[in-house]
Amino acid sequence: MIGAFCEKYLVMIVTAAAGTAGYCLNVNIKRNKIIYGCVGGVLSTFLYCVFVEAGLSLLLQNLIPAAVVTFYAEVLARVVKAPATVFLIPSIIPLVPGGRLYATMRAIVDGEGADARVYAMETIVIALGIAVGIVVVSLVFYHISHKRIQFKVRFDK
C-alpha cells in the first residue's frame, strides 16, 4: 500500500519541493532558510496526498495541512528567530489552488457556465480551508506571544 502511495504521489512531492525552492528564491528568502521552506512544502504536500487518499472532504484536505504547516512555521520562527511569514508562505504554496483557478477561467472562456460554477466553488472552498487552517493556529500563537505588547497608557496610571 505504501508502495502504491509512493508511486502515485512521489512526483507531486518532489516537484513540490522544487517549486517551493523556486518560490523562496523568487521572494528573496535568505539562502540558509530555503531548506526550511522546502521541508514545509513537502510536509504540506505529503499531508494533502494522505488526506486525498483517505477520502476527506475538499475543505479538510486543505485545512489540516495548512494548520499543521502553520504550527511548523510558528514554532520554527521562535527557534530560528525570524518572522513566521518567512517559513509560512513557501510552505503554503503547493496548496494554492492555481489549477482550479485556471480550470475556472478555462470553463468561462469555453462558455461552460455549469463547470465554471463548480470550479469556482471549489477554488473558494480550498482558499477558505487554507485561510481557516492558518488563522486558527496563528491565533493560538498570537495569544501566547503578544501578551506583552505595549499598548499606550493614558488614563489608568
Binding site: A18, Y23, N26, L101, Y102, H146, K152
Partner: protein
C-alpha cells in the same frame, strides 16, 4: 525628568522610527509588527505616550514625550516589491535597537545599508527561482516533462518581462493583466511550436509565477490581529490581481482561437 532617556532629539527619533516602519511595511510586514516596532522604538528612546496609526499607504505617528512636548509626523508609503530577506534583517535591527539603544545616526546608517537599492542586473538566482517554480508546478499539476520544459522557457522570458517593465509600476492589477496576457501568448506559442504538449499544464505553471500569495497571507494575518482596514485593502488587491491573471490568460486563449463559441 529622566536625563538618560531624553538625550536624543525627539524629531530625530521619530524619523528613525518612521524609517523603520516604512521600510518594514514596504518589505511586506504585517501592520501589527510595524506599529509595535514604532511604539517600541519611541518608548525606548523617550518614554511618553505613542499613538501610531498605520494602513497600507500611510503611517501617522503622534508622540507626547515625557518632557510634555507633542510631535506628529505622517508619511505616505509607496508600493514596493516584497522582500522577505530585508524584512528579516529589519526585524533583527529592531530587536537590536530596543536592546542596545544606539544613537540615531547609527540606526540611519544601518537602515540605509539594508535598503540600499540593488543594482539593476540580471540575477541568476531569480531566473533559477522562476524556472524552478514554473516547471515544477507544471509537472505538479499533472504535466509531463516536456510541459515542464516549456513552462521553464516561458518563465525565463517572463523574468525578462519583469526585468524590463516592473520598475516603479504603481498599479499591480493592470501590470498583472498585461503580464498574464504575455505569458498566455507565450504558453500557447510554446505548444504551437511543439515544445510543450498540454497547453493547460504549461499555463498553470506560469500562473503560479504571478499568484498573489504574500498579499493573501498578509491580508489574513492583518485581519486576525484586528487591523481590518488594511486586511480588506490587501484582500481586495489580492482578489483583483487573481481576477486580472485569470482574465489575462483568458484573453490569450481567445486570441489563439479557443473558446467562446
Amino acid at each position: 525628568m529622566d536625563r538618560e532617556k531624553s538625550c536624543e532629539d525627539p524629531a530625530l527619533v521619530m524619523e528613525c522610527a518612521l524609517d523603520m516602519g516604512e521600510t518594514m511595511l514596504r518589505c511586506g510586514a504585517e501592520i501589527l509588527r510595524v506599529e509595535d516596532t514604532i511604539t517600541r522604538i519611541c518608548t525606548t528612546y523617550g518614554g511618553g505616550i505613542v499613538d501610531v496609526f498605520t494602513i497600507l499607504s500611510l503611517i501617522i505617528l503622534s508622540w507626547k514625550t515625557d518632557a510634555g512636548e507633542n510631535y506628529t509626523l505622517t508619511r505616505r508609503i509607496n508600493p514596493h516589491a516584497t522582500d522577505l530577506n530585508k524584512l528579516e534583517d529589519l526585524n533583527a535591527l529592531s530587536r537590536y535597537i530596543c536592546e542596545k539603544r544606539p544613537p540615531c545616526s547609527e540606526i540611519n546608517q544601518r537602515i540605509r545599508a539594508i535598503m540600499a537599492p540593488e543594482e539593476k542586473r540580471i540575477y541568476k538566482s531569480k531566473i533559477t527561482g522562476y524556472v524552478l517554480l514554473a516547471s515544477a508546478f507544471a509537472i505538479f499539476f499533472g504535466g509531463n516533462l516536456r510541459d515542464g520544459l516549456a513552462a521553464g522557457l516561458v518563465a525565463v522570458l517572463m523574468y525578462f518581462w519583469d526585468y524590463f517593465f516592473s520598475a516603479h509600476n504603481r498599479n499591480r492589477v493592470v501590470y498583472s493583466l498585461f503580464m498574464s496576457i504575455a505569458a498566455g501568448i507565450l504558453c500557447s506559442l510554446s505548444v504551437a511550436v511543439g515544445i510543450g504538449q498540454n497547453v493547460d499544464k504549461v499555463m498553470i505553471g506560469s500562473i503560479m509565477l504571478s499568484i498573489p500569495g504574500i498579499n493573501l497571507m498578509n491580508a489574513l494575518r492583518d485581519m486576525m490581529c484586528g487591523d481590518i482596514i488594511t486586511g480588506i485593502l490587501r484582500l481586495a488587491e489580492a482578489l483583483m490581481i487573481a481576477v486580472a491573471i485569470a482574465a489575462g490568460f483568458g484573453i490569450a486563449i481567445m486570441m489563439f482561437g479557443g473558446g467562446l463559441r
